[in-house]
């Protein structure tokens, strides 16, 4: 009987998750126009500085080991926040790009396709990076490279700018805090 209860609970939870995703999918359609306002600005330079190995090595040389670990953990926390913001923006851009795909214009659709591809890649890299950051926080002396996220984010910014220009040639478009 215990097994039956466990399986029934698992089935109910699965059904709830699936129905929730279904409902949120149908709500997405009406809320797509509010998406752009939810994009969090990201300072790419600051992020680059946080993940710079040279900077890490410099701190390692200059600081006593205990203090270095404290500083390193703090930097990793900040890096995680940046990566999470990048991942969040990527998710929003997937939706913006997907909506733009449905517009008839071929040029816009092509730019949207590239944006969606880059945003999905960034979301995947952000998930990997977060895992690596958590490992690095547990082992602060381990060298961490989050450069795939940075490269993806720079590329995605370019894609979004291209799409934005195609949709509205008169308006300057930017999703990162720095070029």
């Amino acid at each position: 009987m215990t097994l039956a209860i466990v399986l029934v609970i698992a089935a109910i939870l699965s059904l709830v998750f699936i129905l929730r995703i279904t409902v949120s999918r149908s709500l997405q359609v009406s809320g797509d126009f509010k998406l752009a306002g939810q994009i969090q600005p990201i300072d790419v330079e600051a992020f680059r500085n946080l993940v710079d190995l040279e900077e890490d090595n410099y701190l390692r040389r200059r600081l006593p080991p205990r203090q270095f670990r404290i500083v390193r953990r703090a930097r990793l926390r900040a890096t995680a926040a940046y990566v999470q913001a990048a991942g969040h923006n990527a998710a929003l851009l997937v939706r913006i790009g997907t909506t733009a795909l449905e517009v008839g214009d071929e040029q816009i659709a092509e730019a949207a396709q590239r944006l969606v591809h880059d945003a999905v890649l960034l979301r995947r890299n952000a998930a990997y990076a977060i895992l690596r950051i958590y490992v690095a926080r547990a082992l602060p002396t381990w060298n961490l490279t989050a450069s795939p996220v940075l490269n993806s984010y720079e590329r995605i910014t370019g894609s979004a700018m291209l799409l934005g220009r195609l949709q509205n040639p008169a308006a300057p478009v930017r999703i990162a805090a720095t070029y």
Binding site: L3, S14, L15, L19, T98, V103, G164, V173
Partner: protein, 256 residues
């Protein structure tokens, strides 16, 4: 009303399968069988298999053992088709994103192995609910199939939701119907296989299963055949971040 061989019972067993067969014909006429070949095969073969089991049940001359053999055959064919259909859903959802396909395949294989192990353990610990292995085995096999099916579909939903992927309307409908059916059937077969229920209680659970399947067939009808409501689509503008805003942000950042 909720008795085996009542009018409602006959309707709930026959109608969804006839509807599914009709859906396959409509899908063929609209050329959807080229886009979703496995779903098309599932609709044709699944409905015929279920109608064969029904026929075996209602013809008095068919002995119980033959009925259960037909039931087993139908169950195995349907299981094969359902797992192929999950593969088709996966290909449609993640296929357009090359960067996700490899990761998705790796993860779904892992999830699949974990689900097979869990289902095997659940089957091993399930008590025999009938002295006849052909009946008890069928119930446990149902539980095993639905456990794996439910887990794989949940994985596809969660993985695509994480990446905010939007699949096409028909494939979303197919996945939704299959998932609802899998979740409800998992719960009901788990109860059937693991607790000694009376005939009347089993009958009520049968009704729940059949009604759910009927609803799922209607969901497939809706998503495959009813055209979406076309709103005037205009592209969502990419946010405009002008210098004024950025300067303000930078000033705030620079002030202690």
């Amino acid at each position: 009303m909720l008795q085996a061989h009542s009018i409602l019972w006959h309707y709930l067993w026959v109608a969804p399968n006839v509807l599914l067969f009709v859906l396959a014909i409509f899908a063929w006429r609209r050329g959807l069988h080229k886009q979703f070949p496995v779903f098309f095969a599932f609709a044709i073969v699944g409905s015929i298999a279920q109608l064969s089991v029904y026929t075996a049940d209602v013809i008095p001359s068919v002995p119980a053992e033959v009925f259960w053999r037909v039931f087993w055959a139908g169950l195995l064919i349907e299981a094969l088709l359902k797992f192929s259909l999950i593969g088709e859903i996966f290909a449609h959802v993640f296929g357009p994103y090359p960067s996700l396909v490899r990761l998705g395949r790796f993860l779904i294989r892992g999830v699949g192995v974990a689900l097979v192990l869990s289902a095997t353990m659940a089957a091993a610990y399930a008590p025999k609910d009938s002295p006849y292995w052909i009946i008890a085995g069928a119930h446990i096999l149902e539980q095993t199939i639905y456990l794996i099916e439910c887990g794989l579909l949940l994985f596809i939903f969660l993985f695509s939701a994480y990446f905010r992927l939007s699949s096409s309307r028909p494939i979303f409908g197919i996945a939704l119907g299959l998932s609802i059916s899998a979740c409800v059937h998992l719960a009901t077969w788990a109860v059937m296989a693991n607790s000694g229920l009376h005939a009347s209680q089993r009958s009520s659970i049968d009704f729940l299963n059949m009604a759910t399947y009927h609803a799922c067939v209607l969901i497939w009808f809706y998503y495959l055949l009813v055209p979406p409501k076309f709103a005037t689509k205009s592209a969502v503008p990419i946010p405009e971040h002008n210098l004024e805003i950025w300067n303000r942000e930078l000033e705030r950042f620079l002030q202690p």
